[in-house]
Amino acid sequence: MLTCKQFLQELNDYLDPNTDPDLKRKLQSHVTECPNCFVIVDTTQKTLQVYKGVEPQTIPDDVKSRLWKALERKIAAKKQAQS
């Protein structure tokens, strides 16, 4: 039986769907027996879910405007250098 510390060190492998099935079973047996690690797994999964659910934020209009103006200058300069 793994200790909680050993399990935590393997937590990423437990959460990774591509982990070797034997290792996964070994880790699963700890989670089944240990309420604390069960909660840690659950709340870690929820942590990842809330971050994945965040949409990229809108760029403020002035920031966007300066980006496009800078790009326009760059492209114009490149075209001028080529001609």
Binding site: L8, N36, D42, K46, V50, V54, I59, L67, A70, L71
Partner: protein, 217 residues
């Protein structure tokens, strides 16, 4: 596809609802089609801005990074070999630019980089409690964003950057290692510490009040 009205000489080439074909746009852009490059910028600018804000934690630096990333990408487009995805390539540029900003700020000593936070380094979980149901629905979008940003901001830059690349930008472990110039075991180790530290922080915020672990059982 939306388009910046500030670039009046160009118009969107990708009709609304049509598939975004990154490799075709990159090929056109490499052949000198500025319009194709603008479509690539349109597609990725928000993600690059988010990445830069997450790493630098500073609006001004994030704007600089956003600009530098696409200006450098345009300047060096002919060097892009296509061995990786274009997006991975610009993420690498953006990460390097962001880290330079962090290093500069650290040397300026204007902003503390290493805040006294728990980073999970000792691999000890202190907060073990179930979360309330659907915290995303309980908090407003802006408030939720603030909570998540604040938690990420509290991580050390090394951990923060790995978490952002792996769990938000969804780069692979190998791509993250290559982007940051660190080993694969280092990526895995930092990711674990970052995830555990964030879990602790969010649990303090989202834990169900007045109950304990046995709420699950």
């Amino acid at each position: 596809m939306t388009y910046s009205e500030n670039w009046m000489s160009l118009t969107p080439t990708t009709p609304v609802g049509s598939a975004f074909d990154e490799s075709a746009l990159v090929a056109k852009a490499k052949a000198g089609d500025a319009q194709a490059f603008s479509d690539l910028v349109n597609h990725y600018e928000r993600k690059i801005y988010r990445l830069a804000k997450h790493i630098t934690q500073n609006d001004e630096d994030a704007e600089d990074v956003l600009q530098e990333t696409f200006l450098k990408a345009y300047e060096h487009l002919e060097n892009f070999q296509g061995n990786s995805k274009f997006y991975t390539w610009i993420v690498r540029i953006a990460v390097n630019e962001s880290l330079m900003k962090l290093r500069k700020r650290k040397s300026d000593r204007t902003v503390p980089l290493d805040e006294p936070v728990d980073t999970g380094e000792e691999m000890v979980a202190r907060e073990i409690a179930v979360w309330e149901d659907n915290p995303e629905q309980r908090y407003g979008r802006d408030e939720m964003q603030e909570i998540l940003n604040s938690a990420v901001q509290s991580l050390k830059p090394d951990f923060r950057t790995v978490f952002i690349l792996r769990d938000i930008e969804e780069l692979s472990t190998e791509e993250t290692a290559e982007t940051l110039g660190i080993s694969i075991p280092a990526v895995k180790s930092r990711l674990l510490r970052a995830r555990l530290a964030l879990r602790e922080k969010l649990t303090r915020q989202f834990k169900r009040k007045g109950e304990d672990v046995f709420a699950y059982l």
